[in-house]
């Protein structure tokens, strides 16, 4: 329990640093939001009126205090541009991004675990080499190129999947999954699958040398049983850590994937709000992303205890 309290304190400190940091950073960014909002033909008086309306002329400390005061009370402010409450915007987008990242993780793990164990069991064989070459190829290709290749193949030539666009779960689960296949493939393949595979492979190779595995072998247990029951769990420590750390990678990757496939998630929100100098929206999105990242890593820490009881004593 003490562990959890420490983690929460840690979370609050990180969030404070993140919000102050981004607030300052955005203040240094060139370009007046009011001018960006009104466009090229704005008159100086109009820009002044909008700056006033948005409170942009107040000192940065006042602005930060107002914003954080609102956030604490559940008010994330309203978009400079559309006047939409930031919280509504987040509520629309968070489930979309979560679904995409969840699917990408599941897909990457579903691909990496069997491949990782199998190639660890038979390292150096042609299959192992092919998997590794393909994997490194994928990670070397920029996600946007992979995305375009997948669009070209599945949407252009085979005409099996939509090239872009997102169908909400409420408009039909099948359509929803269909619209997320290519983004999931792109995100999973380019960002995480190969890393999981490599890690699990090398850890499993090490585990397979361990005494308890030798013991199991000598008892004559079937290979699959040894691999899944005796080797997988002790080999998955680093994998669990990495799954948490990779949330950051996935968030980064989803920015590109969401923009290319036109998926209305957090990544797209970040990009749009930077282009539009819509700082209140950007702040909200960053706060959410940072919190998500820290919380996931907190959960990963807690999960060690489950995987390896020794962590509690340490």
């Amino acid at each position: 329990m003490r562990n959890v309290a420490r983690q929460v304190r840690h979370l609050l400190i990180v969030l404070f640093i993140v919000t102050v940091g981004t607030f300052l950073l955005l203040d240094f960014l060139p370009g007046d939001p009011a001018a960006a909002l009104l466009g090229e033909t704005a008159q100086p008086e109009q820009i002044e009126a909008v700056r006033d309306e948005l409170g942009l002329d107040e000192p940065i400390l006042t602005r930060y205090a107002k914003w954080i005061g609102g956030v604490v009370q559940g008010d994330f402010g309203r978009s400079f541009r559309t006047n939409q409450p930031v919280l509504d915007n987040l509520a629309n987008r968070v489930p979309v991004s979560l679904e995409l990242m969840f699917l990408a993780q599941v897909f990457a793990l579903a691909l990496a675990i069997p491949l990782g164990i199998y190639t660890a069991y038979r390292p150096g064989r042609p299959f192992d080499q092919i998997t590794m070459t393909l994997g490194f190829g994928l990670i070397a290709v920029a996600p946007f190129i992979l995305a375009l290749l997948l669009i070209l193949l599945f949407a252009g030539w085979l005409d099996l999947l939509p090239a872009t666009g997102f169908v909400r779960w409420s408009d039909g689960p099948l359509g929803n999954l269909r619209s997320l296949i290519l983004p999931t493939l792109t995100l999973g393949l380019s960002q995480v699958a190969i890393i999981y595979h490599q890690l699990l492979r090398s850890d499993t190779i090490a585990t397979l040398q361990a005494d308890h595995v030798l013991m199991a072998k000598s008892k004559g247990l079937p290979t699959w049983h040894i691999l899944v029951r005796h080797a997988l769990r002790p080999s998955s420590f680093s994998l669990v850590t990495l799954t948490g750390v990779n949330v950051g990678r996935l968030i980064g990757g989803s920015v590109i994937v969401e923009v290319i496939f036109g998926i209305p998630g957090i990544g797209q929100m970040l990009v749009q709000s930077i282009y539009n100098r819509d700082f209140i929206v950007l702040q909200g999105a960053l706060l959410f992303t940072a919190s998500a990242y820290v919380i996931v890593n907190m959960l990963v820490d807690l999960m060690y205890a489950f995987l390896d009881p020794r962590v509690q004593h340490g």
Binding site: P30, G31, D32, A35, A36, L37, L38, G39, E40, T41, A42, Q43, E45, Q46, A49, V50, E53, R78, S79, R81, T82, N83, Q84, N89, N92, I130, T133, L134, G137, V141, I145, L148, L149, I151, L152, L153, A155, G156, D159, P162, A163, T164, G165, F166, V259, I260, F261, G262, P264, Q268, M269, Q272, R277
Partner: protein
């Protein structure tokens, strides 16, 4: 294995760059040499069929649907319609309004149709029009259409369906102000504005052919058929969806793949690739507007007319066509902002505008230097890939003329606020987006007080001609004045135009009844689908 994989990727990339194949010479719907002027033609698809849903992929997202917002709100014509319209010849005609007339361009009478209601049942009457115009006048709302309402001295509801406007001075483009794409002919329900307050932008209520269902910013705008539309039998569609797809590649795949039924495209490359697809129809028109370089009239060296002429003389339009417009020579070489298809176009500018002549430029520069001038300057551009490509090409033009030019790239927002709006630059690249009509864009670009007169160009003759153009009661006098503006601008060259901004609406073969302005504002009441 790895080798095979990379050759496959290389092959795929080459194909991607070719837009999936198709040969360029066939399948192009437009006449040769005029690929960017394919106005809407009579449809041979038979009688319109009611029903169905269409999705329109646009290249950017709107800020919202409050008529005072400055934004290309693709959905506005669907939600609101327009009191007046431009017809195919560019003339202003009544549309949702019954008539708009004036004898002296000072007092104007707007007559509305009986029985036109907003989607919430509120009647579109004189009070509603006044309510909307007053919002544009409200400084707190910082309306993008302020320039259009600024001439208004007073207005009054003569009866339920008649508004009398009195202007501060004769103002001929007043009726056109009610026809423009982002003009004041877009009327919102006063009841809804009062009801939603600051959320109105997210919950628009108009009297147009489609009613608002939902808007998820950066995702989609969903509209449904207005059963109580003022034009009997319209609209045909049951549903219309707008989807912003800012990424060019993605937008292109979306139309090739049939994910969307129509798209709005803005680069020559994607338009040409669409033309190569026999199943797609490309609808474009030569709207007014232009891409070019602003030559600051306030700061040396371009305060000297010789240097402005020298600048225009070094522009090689064939190279510009290749680099900027994918080889479409007819897009390069715009003279001023008025399109040759405009009813007020002045053909004589073609003889006045300096032709490409590097030797002449070298002479002019030498002459200027001999008079003690320093011809070197800094050329500022936004830091985007297409502008970088342009700068590379322009660098060659400068070298050919042995001109000492420094190139500087800036973030787009910094470019607008730090350069254009402060006026602290010598030469800057700039586009005037496509528009129909002449006011306020021509005024803003060239009048001493113009809001987008980035060159700080100030010429009493131009100002006088502009004033004459906007106040003349006789349309022929007004046209002559607009032509004079074009001639003067071609002589004085505050803005070195090199091309027209390309834009087109691309449709699938099952899409019919496209009704749009030359600037591609789409009026969707007559859209129908044969699928």
């Amino acid at each position: 294995m790895a080798k095979f994989r990379w050759s496959l990727i290389a092959a795929l990339l080459v194909l991607a760059a070719c837009g999936g194949g198709g040969d360029g010479d066939e399948g192009s719907a437009a006449a040769e040499g005029d690929e960017f002027n394919t106005p809407v033609t009579e449809d041979d698809a038979g009688d319109p069929v009611a029903g169905g849903s269409l999705t329109y992929g646009t290249y950017s997202e709107s800020i919202g649907y409050d008529p005072t917002k400055r934004s290309t709100s693709y959905g506005n014509p669907a939600i609101y319609d327009s009191l007046m319209r431009f017809d195919d010849a560019g003339e202003v005609v009544p549309y949702m309004a019954e008539s708009m007339e004036s004898d002296d361009n000072v007092t104007w009478t707007l007559k509305l149709r009986e029985g036109v209601n907003f989607h919430d049942g509120t009647p579109l009457d004189a009070e509603a029009v006044i309510f909307n115009v007053e919002r544009h006048l409200d400084p707190a709302l910082a309306s993008g259409a302020f320039a259009l309402v600024e001439p208004i001295e007073s207005m009054e509801a003569v009866d339920d369906l008649t508004v009398a406007f009195t202007l501060k001075r004769p103002f001929a483009p007043f009726a056109a102000s009610f026809a423009q794409s982002n003009g004041i002919g877009i009327i919102a329900s006063p009841t809804a504005i009062e009801l939603h307050g600051e959320d109105y932008n997210l919950n628009p209520v108009g009297a147009g052919p489609f009613t608002f269902v939902e808007w998820i910013p950066d995702d989609r705008l969903v509209l449904a058929k207005n059963e109580d539309y003022w034009q009997e039998g319209l609209p045909y569609l049951d549903e219309l969806i707008y989807r912003p797809i800012p990424d060019t590649q993605t937008r292109q795949q979306a139309i090739l793949n049939g994910d969307v039924d129509l798209t709005y495209m803005i680069t020559a490359t994607e338009i040409i690739q669409a033309q190569e697809q026999p199943q797609l129809t490309v609808l474009s028109a030569r709207a007014n507007g232009g891409e070019g370089i602003v030559l600051n009239d306030n700061i040396a060296p371009f305060d000297d007319p010789r240097m402005r002429e020298a600048f225009v003389s070094i522009l090689n339009l064939d190279v510009i066509a290749d680099v900027r417009y994918s080889g479409q020579r007819d897009l390069a070489g715009a003279i001023g902002l008025i399109s040759p298809d405009s009813p007020v176009y002045a053909p004589e500018v073609e003889d006045i505008w300096p032709a490409q002549d590097v030797e002449r430029a070298v002479e002019l520069i030498a002459e200027y230097e001999a008079d003690g001038g320093d011809s070197s300057f800094t050329f500022v551009l936004p830091n985007t890939p297409d502008r970088r490509a342009f700068a590379e090409m322009a660098g060659q033009f400068f070298r050919d003329a042995d001109w000492d030019v420094t190139t500087e790239f800036l973030d787009i927002s910094e470019f607008v606020t730090g350069i254009l709006q402060t006026g602290d630059f010598q030469a800057a690249i700039m586009s005037y987006p496509a528009f129909v009509g002449e006011y306020p864009q021509m005024w803003n670009a060239y009048h001493t007080t113009g809001l987008s007169n980035w060159a700080h160009f100030s010429d009493p003759d131009v100002d006088a001609a502009l004033l004459e153009a906007v106040s003349a009661t006789d349309p022929e006098v007004a046209t002559a004045a607009w032509q004079e503006v074009q001639v003067l601008v071609a002589e004085k060259l505050p803005f070195a135009t090199y091309g027209r901004p390309p834009s087109a609406i691309i449709t699938q073969e099952w899409v019919h009844g496209v009704d749009k302005y030359a600037d591609n504002t789409l009026f969707p009441a007559t859209l129908w689908t044969s699928e």
